[in-house]
Symmetry: none
Subunit: 142 residues, 4 copies
């Protein structure tokens, strides 16, 4: 498996939203992108505000741009806000420094895409993203 297919992406988003319902989270939005940061699938739940696609994709693609989870991008932003701000201004896709963006790898550890979730707290967004990844039979990067 060298890529995330559409069935896996849809399963991932459905499971992300199921986890959100289970935990009583606010309306979520979830993006699944390929290894280049390009969208495979996106859904925004009823009641979510209109800027959520950019945030969800920006968590996922920003993680991929730097090769770490968006939680770590957020850590970088605390330590060096100017660096992350400058990167966000120059990257090919949005870079959103907040937890909820998780890289997906194949069996060999090679990057095959990422998932980004937004809508509740960043910690809860990440929990929902991880639930989605696992439900789709995919593997988050350590």
């Amino acid at each position: 498996m060298s890529r995330i297919n559409l069935d896996q992406a849809n399963t991932c988003i459905a499971a992300t939203f199921a986890k959100g319902a289970e935990l009583g989270l606010k309306p979520l939005s979830a993006a699944v992108v390929d290894a280049g940061g390009h969208m495979i699938a996106f859904q925004r739940q009823d009641g979510a505000s209109f800027g959520r696609m950019q945030i969800a994709q920006g968590k996922a693609a920003g993680a991929l741009a730097l090769g770490v989870s968006s939680r770590k991008v957020a850590d970088m932003a605390v330590e060096r806000p100017w660096f992350v701000g400058a990167l966000a201004a120059s990257a090919s896709h949005a870079v959103i420094p907040a937890a909820g963006g998780v890289i997906v790898v194949d069996q060999s550890g090679a990057v095959i895409g990422a998932v980004g979730v937004t809508g509740d707290t960043s910690d809860n967004d990440e929990i929902a993203a991880l639930a989605g990844i696992l439900a789709a039979g995919l593997r988050p990067q350590d």
Copy 2:
């Protein structure tokens, strides 16, 4: 009904892809956006190239930006390319002048969103978009 909900958007995309399969079309990508042109749901079928989200959303949001289908935006582009080019450069969302972007209205005729499809010929993209809209119990603008 004053908006497209996520269930309708997902039903629309599934029916769009079913129509594509029925007609033997190339891999399709479909975007469903709200009345502001913001994404509710998007899916890119396996094998579709990575720039398809911008095209699908640009057909849908471009139609909304001008209040007519993207088929008519394409007609405008033939007659007045400078006008459509300038609009594309200044609009809040992409404006893609090619058939396949269809505005969705409620029972009173008020605009509630749009659907954009890309991947095959523009004519076939539009056929698939209309099939999706009707399958979701929605109504295309005349």
Copy 3:
């Protein structure tokens, strides 16, 4: 093989330039990008003007965005300049509609990247790109 590695990219560029020397072409610039359109390697020969990276990458990434060679993107631009212009304004990477951008596929036909060459006529740029791809043991998309 599911990706182009750096050694292959460097071999491809060296062979592209060797072909240019053999044919007496003007100074060339060559970009090798991954399947997401992101740069793996780029070189600009002495005497080439400074905008060449954007053109070389835009031929390669534009081809990938639409799933066809940049020669076909150029054909689209002749037939529907407004469509290609609007796409160029909205794509994640530059889209340059001129021959010289060639998609690279693996043994199964899956897209693994692209090569973009600029500096001489577009036809000659494409000849040099194809020479580079073959010299690196890679396979151009039909």
Copy 4:
């Protein structure tokens, strides 16, 4: 000598990567730009994430935009983040405020280009950049 030629740029990148291997650094990416900040050559090692070109070029071109190393740009960003942020938003090229971007001068001290390296810690990136510059027979700005 009033410019960096392609042979020097390629030698510089090879020596940068050799230093990275010697020190056991993570996969590196290196950009060599001319005095205008425009790319002469770029390479991204296997395993490096996709956003590395913007970072490498942004270190090099950002240094040139201000006439100091990107280490000093990072110092400025600590003292005056609003200034560097505004510059990053308005400059013709990316401005990345982190060590690893080093200006190259000729015998008279005139600026002829810059090198930007990213992938490991900023301090190690700078060590690798300096190794590359010296190996190519070039001279870093004091």
